[in-house]
C-alpha cells in the first residue's frame, strides 16, 4: 500500500472522487463519476507526479443494481496498481465516455465491454459487437442473463431475434437475482 499515492490522489482530484480512496494489498482504488473519466484519466496520464502510462485493463461490471467501468493502470511512480472505478451508471442506459482519444488501444476493450454489458462508450468510432454475432440481441455478462441450464429465465426465453439491438433499453427485459455492493 502506497500512502503517498493516496495523498497525491486526494489532493489532485479532491472534488472529483465520489468515495474515499481505498487501499488493499498492492492496489489503490478511486471512484469517479463516468462523466469525469476523460479528465481524470488525462490527468493521471499527463501529471508527472502520477504518470500512469500503461492502461492495463478495462472491465465492465454489472453489480445487479447499476453498471461500472473499471480501469487498471500502471505507473513507475508507485508500487501499487491503480484501479479507477467509473461508478453509478443506470442499468437500462449505461453510457461512459470513450478512452480511445488517450489510449487508442482501449478500442477493442470497449468493444468487448459493449458486447458483454451493453455499455455504450461515447466517442468510440467502432463500437460494434466483437465476440457475439451481429444479430445477437442480449448482453451475456449482465446479471439478468442466465446460463443454458437456466435458459427459461434468460432474455427472450431462448428465442433469437433477428433485429439488431444497439442498446440494453431495447433488449428483452428480465430479472436480476444476484447483486453485490462493489
Amino acid at each position: 500500500m502506497d500512502r503517498a499515492l493516496r495523498k497525491r490522489l486526494e489532493t489532485r482530484f479532491g472534488e472529483q472522487l465520489t468515495g474515499p480512496v481505498r487501499q488493499r494489498h498492492d492496489q489503490t482504488e478511486i471512484r469517479i463519476r463516468p462523466a469525469d473519466v476523460p479528465e481524470v484519466m488525462r490527468a493521471l496520464h499527463d501529471d508527472p507526479e502520477l504518470a500512469f502510462e500503461i492502461l492495463v485493463d478495462l472491465a465492465g461490471v454489472d453489480t445487479g443494481t447499476h453498471m461500472q467501468v473499471v480501469y487498471h493502470l500502471w505507473s513507475a511512480t508507485t508500487p501499487d496498481w491503480l484501479r479507477v472505478i467509473a461508478d453509478g451508471m443506470p442499468r437500462d442506459d449505461p453510457r461512459a465516455p470513450s478512452l480511445t482519444g488517450l489510449w487508442p488501444g482501449a478500442e477493442w476493450m470497449e468493444r468487448e465491454t459493449y458486447d458483454m454489458f451493453g455499455i455504450i462508450f461515447e466517442g468510440n468510432r467502432d463500437l460494434r459487437r466483437i465476440y457475439m454475432p451481429p444479430d445477437y440481441t442480449s448482453f451475456p455478462l449482465r446479471k439478468d442473463f442466465y446460463l443454458a441450464d437456466d435458459s427459461a429465465r434468460s432474455p427472450g426465453g431462448g428465442v433469437r431475434h433477428m433485429e439488431q439491438t444497439q442498446a440494453p433499453s431495447q433488449a428483452t427485459p428480465s430479472v436480476v437475482r444476484r447483486t453485490v455492493k462493489a
Binding site: Q27, V70, D126, L127
Partner: protein, 412 residues
C-alpha cells in the same frame, strides 16, 4: 423397396447436393446488413482499384480460428478488419457460475500453449481475496514450472514464425524442444497441454523424481539445443529480409495501444511485470530484461529476437530455482469450500505474450461475482491493422505471427 422420400431421410454420401447445400464455412465478405459504425462504413466502402479478400477463419496460418477481411489494392494491404468470436465460449460467464477451485480448469484452455500462466493470475487474485500466504516452496515450484512453460511457448513461437514465412523445418525442431518440456511438466502435473496444476494457496503436487531427472538431463543440453535451433533461423537470409523493417511498432504507439510483454520490450521499453510490479519470488531471482529496437521502434525481427533472448533469461531463472528450492509444504491450509469476504482484487503476471491479469469481485459466496480476464493476445491483435498498412498480403501472417497471438485467449 423404394427409397423413402421423408424429409428426415439422410442423403447418401455420393449425393452431389450434400456439397451444394452445405453452407458451413462460407462467408459473405461484405456483411449482409447496413454498417453499424462509422469505422465499419468506412472499411466496407471500396476506393478506386481496391477489392476485398477474405482470409480465414479456416486459413492454415491464422493461429486458430480467426477471420481477417483484407482490403487490398493490387498486392498491398490498404486496411484490414479482424473478425473475432469463433472460439468464444464465454469463459468469464462460466467462471461466475463455477466455484473458486473449478475456475482453474475453466481458464486453462484460454492460452493453450502456455496454460500455466492462465491459471496463475486468477489463482493470485483469489489468494488476495482470501488473504492467503502461499508457502515459499510452492512459489518456487510455480516459478520453475512457469518458466519452463515460457520456454515451451517461445520455442513453439519460433517454429510458427518460420512456418508462416514458408519454412517447414524449424517447427519440427521447435516441437522436439517443446515436447521435452511438456513431457517434463506432464510428469509433475499429469497432463501435457492443460496442466491444471496451480491451486489457490499452492500447487497440486510436489516435484517428483521423474520430473527432476528429466529436467536435469534437459538442462545439461538446453542452451546448446536452443542455440542450434535459433541458428537455423537467425542466419537465414530469406527469413531476416522478410522480417526486417516490416511491421514497425514505435515506442509511443506501443504505449498508446496498451501493448505489454515482449512486443513492448521489442519497441525499446523495459517493462516486465516481474520487475515493474514484482510478484511471487521474482524479487529474489537474478535475471535481465532484454529489450530491442531502441529509438527506431521494433520490427518483426526484433520481436522474434527478443523472444530468443528471453529464453536465455528463463534458463537462468530455472537454474536459480533449482539451486534455491526451499523445503516445506506446497499448499497453504485452506478449507475445501472457499468463501472470501466481499471485496475486489486485481492480480497481474508476466506471461510469454504479455500481461495476464484477473479482476475478481467476491460477494461472499463460493463463486466470484465477476471475474474479468485480461489477455494480452486480444490487445495485440488490434495492432495488426496498423502495422499492416502498405505491406504485402504475404506479410500479413508474418506480422501477425510476430505479435504471437493465441486465438483461445483472444476469443475467451
Amino acid at each position: 423397396m423404394t427409397a423413402s422420400t421423408t424429409p428426415h431421410q439422410h442423403p447418401s454420401a455420393d449425393d452431389p447436393r450434400i456439397l451444394l447445400d452445405d453452407q458451413i464455412g462460407q462467408f459473405e465478405t461484405v456483411p449482409p446488413y447496413p454498417p453499424r459504425t462509422e469505422r465499419e462504413a468506412e472499411f466496407y466502402s471500396l476506393g478506386d482499384g481496391e477489392m476485398f479478400l477474405n482470409m480465414g477463419p479456416q486459413h492454415p496460418s491464422t493461429h486458430g480460428v480467426l477471420r481477417v477481411v483484407l482490403k487490398i489494392n493490387g498486392e498491398s494491404v490498404v486496411d484490414l478488419d479482424p473478425v473475432l468470436g469463433y472460439l468464444h465460449r464465454g469463459v468469464e460467464k462460466l467462471c461466475e457460475n463455477s466455484d473458486f477451485h473449478h475456475i482453474i480448469s475453466q481458464v486453462d484452455p484460454l492460452e493453450y500453449v502456455s496454460s500455466l500462466f492462465c491459471e496463475w493470475s486468477p489463482v493470485m487474485a483469489f489468494e488476495k481475496l482470501l488473504d492467503v500466504q502461499v508457502p515459499r516452496r510452492a512459489e518456487y515450484i510455480r516459478v520453475l514450472t512457469g518458466e519452463l512453460n515460457r520456454i515451451a511457448s517461445h520455442a513453439l513461437f519460433q517454429g510458427w514464425m518460420a512456418l508462416d514465412l514458408g519454412g517447414l523445418t524449424p517447427i519440427l525442431y521447435s516441437f522436439i524442444e517443446r515436447d521435452e518440456i511438456v513431457d517434463m511438466l506432464a510428469a509433475v502435473t499429469g497432463q501435457k497441454l492443460l496442466f491444471n496444476y496451480f491451486r489457490i494457496g499452492g500447487v497440486n503436487g510436489d516435484l517428483n523424481h521423474e520430473f527432476m531427472s528429466r529436467l536435469g538431463d534437459w538442462m545439461s543440453r538446453a542452451t546448446a539445443q536452443h542455440e542450434a535451433n535459433t541458428q537455423l533461423l537467425n542466419e537465414n537470409e530469406i527469413f531476416v529480409r522478410r522480417m526486417r523493417g516490416i511491421g514497425v511498432l514505435d515506442r509511443d504507439t506501443a504505449f498508446r495501444m496498451a501493448v505489454t510483454g515482449p512486443n513492448l520490450r521489442a519497441s525499446g521499453v523495459p517493462y516486465d511485470v516481474r520487475r515493474a510490479h514484482p510478484y511471487s519470488v521474482y524479487p529474489e531471482l537474478e535475471f535481465d530484461i532484454p529489450t530491442r529496437g531502441h529509438g527506431r521502434g521494433g520490427d518483426s525481427l526484433d520481436r522474434y529476437l527478443l523472444r530468443v533472448d528471453e529464453v536465455k533469461q528463463s534458463l537462468r531463472i530455472i537454474d536459480q530455482c533449482l539451486h534455491n528450492m526451499p523445503d516445506g509444504p506446497i499448499m497453504a491450509k485452506l478449507p475445501r469450500l472457499l468463501r472470501p469476504r466481499p471485496g475486489r482484487a486485481w492480480a497481474a503476471i508476466e506471461g510469454p505474450r504479455g500481461l495476464y491479469g484477473t479482476y475478481a469481485i467476491s460477494d461472499g459466496t463460493d463463486q466470484p461475482f465477476r471475474m474479468k480476464i485480461h489477455d494480452p493476445s486480444f490487445v495485440h491483435l488490434q495492432l495488426v491493422g496498423q502495422l499492416m498498412k502498405g505491406n504485402l498480403i504475404a506479410d500479413t501472417m508474418a506480422v501477425m505471427a510476430s505479435l504471437d497471438p493465441v486465438m483461445g485467449g483472444v476469443d475467451k
